[in-house]
């Protein structure tokens, strides 16, 4: 008997625009001791599937057809009361975002113990003891101390371990992990997934791993279920699917997943004259922030590097490593505490007023979140033409013509000019943001995590666009990312940042193939998809 057997499951959401079919006849099976990964981009219905299995659909969602057999028993159509006996006891859920998934005003030990107490597996006193054991099993250091703390006192990774402890508390036969580590840094992500996998494999429990990251799925799963538009597009053994995807959608997904390939795309614009006068010179850059409780934080700590004209320098690091602050300092969007930034030979560290505005013509920024960086009230034309307006370039007609040209350069149809940002997809918005950055024909474009808010297939397109634009216009990029695989596909040289310092800086191939520093090696080891590449 299968642990989980979903057949022909359909789920519908009531929305203002009419019913939305989130799941459209989905079949999934999980055997005891097996890890099955459900992979898909946002909106593919994978999270809906995870929630539907234990009857946790939002109020406007309902199952319209199909069946879910959990350990041979039907769970669709069960009353709320009957479902309570299933949740936690028969199937445990590891939710998506650890930072918000724990009750902020309750001690974590109590929250873990509650998972036992609701199923009558412990009383108040024994629950407290068992909670500490469970936290230890979930790999939390000092579990007895942690159990008495509140969620905000724990890091994101620790909170995810607490959530894992909750999920395994009542010893369910199935663990449903819904994007369990997407909100965490790569190295933490790897440690937690290792631990979760160990727990599952050691006990014969089954796991349904829902993820947007094909690399993560490839590393962990026995079988893959690829979803798109509420349907299962392809399913099979992980190795088979990766080696020979049958469906076009899966092929796109596999080829777009940065971690799965030794070299995603050779950078077509390899030759950079590194002996030329550098466009940007950064020397001993330091930025300190005053902390609210007194004391200072050194966000950037003595960073030095050059960027040659036409070069792409990648800066990678985990959150808090100081890479974004460095980018802002290079653009003079912030004042450095000490150190120097030279742009095309001129020191811009103390630039103010008119000279500062002139710099804006030559150095531009593309933001991480294309949803936030465009004024929602503006039309696309107004967004793209804003820099021209600011510098009074041409009249209204000329600006409109230039906007049309720029939109065309980022491969969007002219019809988007009259649209508003809300009507566009994330990838389209990021193209608009790039078009705006190019409006004044700058020399340097700083890209701060330009693709991390986008789906993988869209990521690949935007990266390609950036590469093309560089070849056409001889742009210089400073490319910030937490994602090593992304940086690898675009940068000529890569710098690794940690705790405000530049740990290592080397040509891309050299950094990836022969890393000099331990920290770089650890980062490289954490790239999802690496393990499967070695075994496939």
């Amino acid at each position: 008997m299968s642990l989980l057997e979903v057949t022909g499951l359909r789920v519908e959401y009531r929305t203002a625009a009419g019913p939305l079919h989130a799941l459209d006849g989905v079949d999934v099976r999980v055997e005891p001791g097996e890890v099955v990964a459900v992979v898909g981009e946002s909106g593919s219905g994978k999270s809906t599937l995870a929630h539907a299995i234990i009857g946790l659909l939002p109020a406007n969602g309902r199952v319209t057809a199909g069946s879910v057999l959990l350990g041979g028993e039907e769970t669709t159509g069960l009353s709320e009361k009957a479902l309570r006996l299933v949740r936690g006891r028969r199937a445990g859920l590891v939710p998506q975002d650890p930072t918000v998934s724990l009750n902020p005003v309750q001690r974590v030990g109590v929250q873990v113990g509650e998972a036992l107490r609701v199923h009558g597996l412990a009383d108040r006193r024994s629950a407290a003891v068992r909670a500490v054991e469970l936290l230890e099993r979930a790999g939390l250091p000092d579990p007895a101390v942690r159990a008495r703390q509140y969620p905000h006192e724990l890091s994101g990774g620790m909170r995810q371990r607490v959530l894992i402890a909750i999920a395994i508390a009542a010893e369910p036969a199935l663990i449903i992990a819904d994007e369990p580590t997407s909100a965490l840094d790569a190295t933490v992500q790897r440690r937690i997934l290792d631990h979760l996998e160990g727990l599952v494999r050691g006990t014969g429990t089954g796991m349904l791993l829902v993820t947007h990251d094909l690399g993560v799925a490839a590393d962990r799963a026995d079988r893959l279920v690829v979803m798109s538009g509420g349907r299962v597009v392809e399913t099979g053994r992980t190795a088979d699917v990766l080696a020979g995807p049958r469906e076009r959608y899966t092929r796109d997904l596999v080829s777009a997943a940065p971690g799965l390939h030794q070299v995603v795309r050779e950078n077509p614009h390899r030759d950079v004259d590194t002996h030329a006068e550098p466009l940007v010179e950064v020397r001993d850059l330091v930025k300190e922030f005053r902390l609210p409780g007194g004391g200072t934080l050194r966000a950037v700590d003595g960073v030095s590097f050059d960027i040659a004209p036409g070069e792409t320098l990648g800066l990678v690091g985990e959150s808090g490593s100081g890479k974004s602050t460095t980018a802002r300092l290079v653009l003079r969007m912030d004042d450095p505490t000490s150190g120097e930034v030279r742009f095309d030979g001129t020191d811009i560290t103390g630039l103010r007023g008119k000279a500062w505005r002139e710099l804006r013509r030559r150095a531009q920024l593309v933001y991480q979140n294309p949803y936030a960086s465009l004024d929602p009230r503006f039309s696309v034309e107004e967004v793209v033409a804003e820099p021209l307006r600011a510098f009074k370039v041409g009249d209204a007609r000329a600006r409109r013509a230039r906007a049309a040209e720029l939109v065309d350069r980022v491969a969007l149809p002219a019809s988007v000019l009259d649209r508003r940002p809300v009507e566009l997809s994330g990838g389209q918005r990021q193209r608009i943001a790039i078009a705006r950055a190019l409006a004044l024909s700058p020399d340097l474009v700083v890209c701060d995590e330009p693709v991390s808010a986008l789906d993988v297939s869209v990521q690949a397109q935007v990266l390609e666009l950036l590469t093309e634009l560089q070849a056409d216009a001889g742009l210089t990029y400073l490319f910030i990312s937490h994602d090593l695989a992304v940086v690898r596909s675009i940068a000529h040289r890569v710098g690794v940042m940690a705790q405000g310092r530049l740990v290592e800086l080397a040509p891309t191939a050299q950094l990836f193939d022969a890393p000099q520093q331990d920290y770089t090696r650890e980062l490289l080891a954490a790239i999802a998809g690496r393990r499967s590449r070695e075994t496939v």
Partner: protein
């Protein structure tokens, strides 16, 4: 000063004292400087009374030190106020503080009862409305508060009097004799306030129930009531508590209208007559008193906050 909780408390107390001082100053500016000549205003005997003669006016001016430069006047007045001396009432020469002291007990009984009633009504309604599975009941319950906040307080009072005094004859329509005379005024005062508590609490309960940690709890197998009372309520109580603090100000203002409607003695009636006689010292005394009550209530809320939310106790930002 390493203890963040102590630092938090000290900061709050400091702020409260500052606000109180500023409230005194604002009321001083409004009442003594805005009219041009405060003595003339007071000496006119209010808007309905007999004007005073020039000799009496000069005496008044000297009594209040109004022949001195403004800053000196202000400094002296502030110093006196710190010692509890807000001057004497123009109406009958009674000391402002003792006039307010006489009126206070009756108003305290009214406002206290109303506050308790408002919190109970509001909390009960919000919990039932968000907990019920019947969409119809939920809609009906949630439309009550928006109705109650749209009614003028005096109309609520007059309608209650019509129904329960003249119609059913259960409670007296005027006066302050015995607990039965407290019922209608307290209900009148409590209804709009309770409605606001209900609105805020229901909204924050709904928000809390949408939080991912509720999904976590549901995935453990916790039931509906357990989630409501064990997880959502404590998180939702924080914004509601802030509102209760703010409502204390409205409570005092409400007594002005309610005590007039029910012809009940108290601070509210005192205010009305003080304004009618343009009794500036008394009006200022009442305004500063109201600000003090408001500040104290909110200080209390700030002190309770860390008990409910550990994130604040540890000095973390909300």
């Amino acid at each position: 000063m390493t203890n963040p909780t102590a630092r938090y408390l000290l900061r709050r107390v400091g702020l409260a004292v500052g606000v109180l001082w500023a409230a005194y100053t604002v009321s001083y500016v409004v009442l003594y400087l805005l009219p041009g000549d405060a003595v003339e205003t007071m000496a006119s005997g209010g808007l309905d009374g007999e004007p005073l003669g020039p000799a009496e006016m000069a005496a008044l001016r000297a009594r209040y030190g109004l022949d001195q430069p403004i800053l000196v006047q202000y400094g002296k007045a502030l110093w006196a106020a710190l010692g509890g001396d807000f001057g004497v009432s123009v109406q009958n020469g009674q000391d402002v503080l003792s006039a307010m002291g006489d009126a206070l007990p009756s108003t305290l009984a009214l406002a206290g009862t109303a506050l308790v009633l408002a919190v109970l009504l509001g909390t009960g309604l919000a919990i039932v409305a968000t907990c019920t599975r019947s969409r119809w009941l939920r809609q009906a319950l949630l439309s009550l508060p928006s109705l109650a906040v749209s009614l003028p307080v005096f109309l609520i009072g007059l309608l209650l009097v019509q129904a329960f005094s003249f119609g059913l004859g259960w409670f007296p329509s005027v006066g302050a004799k015995g607990p039965s005379a407290l019922v209608l005024p307290a209900v009148t005062l409590a209804l709009p306030l309770g409605a606001q508590v209900a609105q805020v609490l229901a909204a924050s309960l709904d928000r809390a129930l949408d939080e991912p940690y509720v999904t976590t709890a549901r995935a453990k197998g916790v039931g509906r009531v357990g989630i409501h009372l064990g997880h959502a309520l404590r998180n939702a109580a924080l914004p509601a508590l802030t509102v209760v603090g703010l409502l204390v100000g409205q409570l005092l203002a409400g007594t002005v209208v309610v005590e007039t409607v029910f012809t009940r003695p108290g601070i509210g009636r005192l205010t009305v007559s003080a304004v009618s006689y343009q009794d500036i010292p008394l009006v200022q005394g009442i305004v500063v008193f109201a600000a003090a009550v408001f500040v104290a209530a909110n200080l209390l809320v700030d002190l309770v906050y860390p008990l409910l939310d550990p994130r604040i106790a540890q000095g973390a930002t909300r």
